[in-house]
Symmetry: C2
Subunit: 453 residues, 2 copies
Amino acid sequence: MTRLVIRNCSVLVVPVEGECRVDEYQDILIEDGAIAEVMPTGAVAAESGLEEVGATGLIAVPGLVNSHTHSPMVMMRGAAEDVSIDDWFNRKIWPMEMNLTPERVKVGARLACAEMLLAGVTTFVDHYFHADQIAAAALETGIRADLAPTFFSSTGADGREAAYEAAREIRRMGQSAARGGSPRITASLGPHATYTVSEEDLRRTAEVARAEAFRIHLHAAETADQTQSSKDRLGATPIEVLERTGVLGAGALIAHGCGIVDSDLPILAKHAARTAVAACPKVYLKLAMGPTTPIKHLQSAGVAVGVGTDGAAVHNTLDVWESLRLLALTQKQREQDAEWMTISDTLRHATRGGAAAAGLSDTIGAIEPGRRADLALVDLSAPHCQPVHDPRAALVYSVRASDVVTVVVDGNIVVRDRHLTNANLDDILQDAKATAHTLVDLSKGGAVQHYAP
Amino acid sequence: MTRLVIRNCSVLVVPVEGECRVDEYQDILIEDGAIAEVMPTGAVAAESGLEEVGATGLIAVPGLVNSHTHSPMVMMRGAAEDVSIDDWFNRKIWPMEMNLTPERVKVGARLACAEMLLAGVTTFVDHYFHADQIAAAALETGIRADLAPTFFSSTGADGREAAYEAAREIRRMGQSAARGGSPRITASLGPHATYTVSEEDLRRTAEVARAEAFRIHLHAAETADQTQSSKDRLGATPIEVLERTGVLGAGALIAHGCGIVDSDLPILAKHAARTAVAACPKVYLKLAMGPTTPIKHLQSAGVAVGVGTDGAAVHNTLDVWESLRLLALTQKQREQDAEWMTISDTLRHATRGGAAAAGLSDTIGAIEPGRRADLALVDLSAPHCQPVHDPRAALVYSVRASDVVTVVVDGNIVVRDRHLTNANLDDILQDAKATAHTLVDLSKGGAVQHYAP
């Protein structure tokens, strides 16, 4: 048995409901990657075989979950600015993605894993091409990931089936200890969106998901315009399409959902136990997508909501601290209610909500006995956080990702004193710099898809 | 003559209009606190009496300006969360401010100056009580500041005149080299707001301002509700009140202005040369204040707009990087136009716009010969900024305040390798921690003012 104790930290306790609290002077005992006990400091005696991490003055926070991203898109960071959503897809990103190769995806995924781990993001829920390369980067760096291989209906039945097979392969990678796998790696099915995948293909996806116990991660109801267009084109809202094709029945993570309307709520409520929505508020502001995700309504329907960054080609970071802060701010604005989306609720969305988005509600998302040990130790001693009248407020409204000192995933120390333990950051950065120009080259023409939702 | 050269940096060039650009491999020569030349690296030879700062791989950015803040309110950071704007004023902040003393204001101001300098904020435009203490903190730490001593009409003619006298004293502090003063310190008159200061007092303030060449810094038209209330109560919008009392004629910095309406624009246009507006977008989201500052309209009226944090009791940081990013994001949202508030315009608001807000349009805000040497050297090499397809995009959408390495104000190195050079951060933090509880003590009752705009 491996044993690790985090000594003398404060602990952010995020209950299932109600206010978060901070317990001071605690030791966190981790055994075989799971949290065994959280006890007042000193209750666990030092002994041989017990690894110790001193954490005096630090606050232990459940590892943040990036509930929706396309991690390798860090390679296009800053390459598609000040453009409409149409131009972003049709003149920038989908033409750029003609340049994707397994090797380039791997380079981007390693950089993304580095950025996230150093920021205290312990899990990411990804949707992209060449997802086996992303799985390899996650295995190497030590982060937890759920990976959905992306497909469009435009690539035909072959493309669709190949994407399912990629999900199966990632599942096998996660399960095969002999190949360096880890249960940290899971897979979902990844139809791109209700506007790029046919109902027939969604139906087939739902069948495969049910037969093989996959969840389905896809974009739906991203804007009010998309919802209207879906009604015009298909006679149904995107959520109604997901219901009638069996996707909601199989269990879905819906990215964005800003266009979810009142009539969708009873449908979502019916499937609430196996549905989650990922909100990425920076993106909705930056692309001027209209009102943000209706979390108040989703909450009334019992649907879990996580926080995500989406890809860095629009979000420009994979910083979930930034996302959770914007979640709080934009939700207060959306409801015109400064008392809504409290600090406690915000922290819950970024942790327990993210766990639900990752399909790991019972496994991660809180520092409590029995859960996998995914956590970040955060330093609130810098001037931008001081004085600390309320550490929970500091975590939502003052902290920077650079305040994360040490990160544990599945009981392993993956960041120690602000440095990756499993990968060489200089190598990762050098590869990214050397490769970056190949991703934004538009000389070859074409596009992986056309945006006309 | 003192001479300093910043060696081999990239330089963010922010023109008066049009796109910003980045010039690589430059030396910035600073003589007696002013920028003398910006030249290709190596054009300035090393010589005795020439101090050198190596900046290879760093980007020099005009020092950011915090265009509106109440710096000592860092002492209430995190102490007034998830409350309505009414409760924020009437149940939290204005009762807490019964605890203000010169000593406590000084402790807060020193912490605020430390936080801002370490983040590359080289100038702040402040509005608060005991402003002489803030001036002292600015003089000590080396930051540039314009300070407006706050008053309400509720404190009577004595309070009003005492605030004017405080402004005169701060002006003298700035001017008196014998007392350790510096032209870095300037003063403005600080009536609190159109809803807390009578028209008679605004008129008197405008007279003093004109007679003694002060500018006037005040809150006005903070929300659409305030504008409506002003029309109901006074038969005029807040901007109309500022015009008819002579405040606009004297020259004003208007904080927030979210409630500025179309009919105000011709009035503002008439006074555009001596008017600026400070936008603090995080605050409008957090307090659910409705639509953000109408910058597109202000721009059409020719009014300069700076970016501010407001006090940390609502903004929770004094991080202008955060504010400028939110400016871009919320402006795109306000206009529902992702092509509006470009990267270049955003950077211009945070630099040249801030210079105008500080009344220093010709003195700071750009790295060009003849201006005072206020700049920050920023490191974009960390994974959250890489790869860098566009360093301007990185500055707006990816960078963290912790990426600021070295800061120069008025030609003096005030932050070197992420450390203050003029003040002891440990002492500042210790004082803040020891004092913090005294500011949030509500046991004495009372309030400095009542919010009923």
